[in-house]
Amino acid sequence: MSHPKPQPSFKARAGAALADPTLKLAIDRTTGTAERKRAAAVAAFPEFDAARARGKAIKDHVIAHLDHYLETFERNAIASGAKVHWAADDAEARAIVTRICLDAKARLVTRAKSMLGEEIGLPHALADAGIERVETDLAEHIIQLAGEAPSHIIWPAMHRTREQVAELFKAGHHPPPTADDPATMVQSARRELRAKFLGADIGISGANFLVADTGATCTVTNEGNAELTTTPPRIHIVTAGIEKLVPSTAHAFALLRLLVRSATGGELTQYTTFHCGPKRPGDADGPEEMHIVLVDNGRSRMLGDEFREMLRCIRCGACMNHCVVYRQIGGHAYGGTYPGPMGAVLTPVLDGLAGSRDLPHACTMNGRCAEVCPVGIPIPTLLRAWRVRSWREGLEPGVMRAGIGIWAMLARRPALYRLATRLALPVLRLFGRRGWIGSLPLAGGWTAHRDLPHPPGRSFMDQYRDQQAKKGAGQ
């Protein structure tokens, strides 16, 4: 994989996150606001359910006819003057982008936030090629200063509090901002980035949609940085996953209504731009060259397996905003490009299950992610599919396999199960006092944090059988 694997285990990363009260404050601020705003936006949009059904149908249709729409898109993109490149995996995608930059003798590249770019490891690849990279999204600018990866797919710097950002800007901006109120800090970032926008040789963006019947790519931002990234430089490179296709502009708008409401609670972002080919004769501005890199990286494999429905994902982040686990540990603990519930489905696809088996297991299966998903992805079902694979491939720890094995051996034999319950309950009653067990061998995971109610001396089934016997005798 492109980026070095984080060394500590998932549990260690989660433990470190849980021990960081500033992180929790930052997560609560952002996800709490996101949850409230989304709820208000959905409440004010009576046809939300119908829009969701339509969005799901659009994505399912495109996924079922991906070959057709890919060819249509390629044909129309070429007709608009763009060059289209195909990358089977992350390494090919990095090589294509790096080659374009080197051929153009680019020294400075600006980049508008793109999770696909993170997925293929573009930031590191550009650095390795000796090309200066400037992140133009405000949050990406923050994490570039901090030397970090995104912790959320919509708010990459959501793990940083405003106070921490003020510190980063003081150290990283020249001259530093004169005050640490948000308006002054934003002005400082604008001053810092403006010169880079105008001096860049190449601008790289992602795409929220690839429109098949026009060959256009669509970006969605609130800061206008995508437009400043893609317009002034000589060359515009788009990197996009092949699942971003939609048949037409109208279909893109049907999905935009879902995407923006689910992501930020707005009706539409400040900037929604369709980039269609390079500058044409008579155009006032625009790049001389436009390259579109279509990235597979595991997606065509998903077409044929249990994870096909994940290809509907439009990357809104609602699942993580509503996830009880994400809201405790944040994004970095997940260890992959994509965090939260959607990341727990995608990371095993991208990085392999062996190194990420914790992610599909670290979920309570409460279903809230699926409830808020704007394209109806049954995330818990997909996470369970990974658990089934993990079990089948023998990746589950021996203790867990043995525990489930002993339990299942008993549960499959009702008479033996009754006997085991009859023997175990009095033993359990030896522990604890006054109704509660505060510490129990082999149950430390439970009793480290909470008490366990004392079981009764006899099970329901035994008590019920006695009752029935008495009734029978009395008749």
């Binding site: 658990r387 867990m400 549960a411 319950t421």
Partner: protein, 255 residues
Amino acid sequence: MSAKPHPRVGLFVTCLVDAIRPQIGFAAIQLLEEAGCIVEVPAAQTCCGQPAFNSGDDADAAHLARQTIAAFEGLDHVVLPSGSCAATMVHGYPELLADDPDWAARARAFAARTHEITSFLVDVMGYRPQGRRLDASATYHDSCSGLRDLGVAAQPRAMLAEIEGLQMHGLEGNDVCCGFGGTFCVKYAPISNAIVTEKAEAIERSGADLLLAGDLGCLMNMAGKLHRRGAATRCFHTIEVLAGRADGPAIGEEA
């Protein structure tokens, strides 16, 4: 509404109620009988298989699905005092046995007559408790599987509204997971603890005397945390209150 006024109902008591709190099973029998059902408790029941199902051990989960379906054959309905075990049967069994030609149709038929108890009492039997009184305040946690997989939300509240003297308090984040998640709570204990701590804080803020919910797993998690924190909140399964059985010890209290 059920076609039969006196359907034969099989009670699946669940492994947790069997071992930890039998009185929930007896409350279930009482309410089902009050609603006009003829209740049977098949002896060949153990666990619905959810621990295997959620661990990815489909072979054991499918075995327990077949065993349970066979044990409840011939009964009009299967009723459980748990949304998550009921959801395993309603959604999980047909999925597990979809490719088994001998069992796929049986699993679908079994799923169609399986119900979580509060929704069964209200939606199928049209039951409301009568003449019950409990002078206390209570708050209600919506357990996730019952709420999202089976649509259990209005039914328990409609029945609780019939209990005289019972004051219901709102619960902030009533539809947010308590952090139990079956084996999740021991596999990822520190994360589960952080989640249930927030839940316990919300329950304490509600100011209610009692916490009610429809799943013993979630209740044990929340009750265990509340007790560890020294909170005075007492925890009962919803149907214990509905059956007038909340005058004795709450979960974790000795008789």
